[in-house]
């Protein structure tokens, strides 16, 4: 299984971590819950749920750390019976990310910590200094949106004249 990434520069560092640390799952996400890269998940909607929860854990642990220790907790670890979870903060020059990984007895917390530090360094070096923002074509946006939402809700979509149409999702 390969990693899926949002931006090409993330792929090599993430794949290196997965291979070296023998991770079962790996998630790199923005602190707002948006996925940047993942390994181990098969459905996008499941990745989104995992990211939302990981972002929530990270954010609330950060706030708890500020309350209790005067600074955010940057790493968290849970030892389950068969699987273990590690969550860490990935500070880069451009922005901050959150990393979550799940591993079993094929790996260990010590190894994961070592390779996590390497991942942070690889991401820092691989990160581009600028991003481009190209507008998305709005030509068919409203039509497609109306059609797809109507299909999701089991309704007939609105036609161009505001009436019902019988388009279907291809």
């Amino acid at each position: 299984m390969r990693t899926h990434v949002a931006e090409p520069w993330i792929e090599a560092p993430l794949q290196t971590f997965v291979d070296d640390a023998h991770a079962l799952f790996a998630l790199l996400l923005h602190p707002n819950g948006q996925v940047m890269g993942q390994f181990g998940f098969t459905r996008a909607v499941d990745v989104m749920a995992a990211c939302a929860l990981a972002a929530a854990i990270h954010a609330s642990a950060g706030e708890l750390g500020k309350e209790l220790d005067g600074k955010p907790f940057r790493e968290m670890y849970h030892a389950g019976r068969d699987r273990q979870i590690f969550i860490g903060d990935v500070p880069t020059t451009r922005e901050r990310f959150v990393f979550l990984t799940v591993f079993d007895s094929e790996s260990s917390l010590g190894l994961v910590r070592i390779y996590f530090q390497e991942l942070c360094e690889l991401l820092e070096h691989a990160q581009p200094t600028t991003t481009s923002q190209t507008p998305i074509s709005g030509t068919s946006l409203e039509h497609d949106l109306n059609r797809n939402l109507a299909i999701l809700f089991g309704r007939a979509p609105l036609g161009a004249d505001g009436g019902e149409s019988s388009l279907s999702l291809s």
Binding site: A52, I136, N148
Partner: protein, 209 residues
């Protein structure tokens, strides 16, 4: 912050349902969850108290299919409405691409609606977002209740809709207005993306299939 992957042509957007406690934010998500086929949604995640009051957030990932050539996914969040969860609301609001403000139409809840709208403005400001630029729609929920108990839509417009954003009368429990509200905010968010003025530098989306 919408994530746009131009290589794989994928878009992921974050929508937050905001509003006072018990206004019907979670009910909106429950209705959407029940309507959408299983292969187009993920599990609905609810971090709630034992009495089903939202503690942290509800979360529902939706696959909207292909829009303008991009595989489009929406992440729907709710916030806890009670006043004392202000810090949590601010966390959930982080990176939102659009906001649905769910107002409780009951006349006795008018002050709570106004307070929650002010709280939204405060939290957006703390994230350094100008409320005038954030895609926003209003939903006036519980319009099915007896007229004697609720504020009319014009009264609610007067009290809450100073930006004159799209607004929708709703009965979220039975689904009235839920679809229209989602379509309204999705349209605003995607139009903003197509205009190239997303709230943050576009990155990309990654996921499974």
């Amino acid at each position: 912050m919408s994530l746009v992957n131009y290589a794989t042509r994928e878009i992921t957007c974050k929508i937050v349902y905001y509003g006072p406690g018990r206004s019907g934010k979670t009910t909106n998500l429950h209705y959407i969850y029940e309507q959408v086929p299983g292969d187009r949604k993920g599990q609905m995640v609810s971090l709630a108290t034992q009495t089903d009051r939202t503690l942290f957030f509800d979360f529902l990932p939706l696959d909207l299919g292909t829009i303008s050539g991009f595989s489009t996914r929406f992440q729907l969040y709710t916030v806890p409405g009670q006043v004392y969860y202000q810090a949590t609301r601010k966390l959930v609001l982080h990176g939102a691409d659009g906001v649905v403000f769910v107002a409780d139409s009951q006349a006795r809840q008018l002050a709570e609606n106004i307070e929650s709208m002010q709280d939204l403005h405060t939290n957006l400001a703390e994230h350094e977002i100008d409320v005038r630029t954030m895609p926003l729609v209003l939903q006036y929920n519980k319009q099915d209740l007896p007229k004697s108990l609720i504020s009319s839509v014009p009264e609610l417009e007067d009290a809450l809709n100073f930006r004159e954003v799209p607004s929708f009368a709703a009965d979220a429990l039975h689904g009235t207005g839920v679809f229209e509200t989602l379509r309204g905010i999705a349209g605003l968010v995607l139009k903003r993306l197509s205009a190239g003025s997303g709230p943050a530098p576009a990155a990309a989306a990654a996921g499974g299939r």
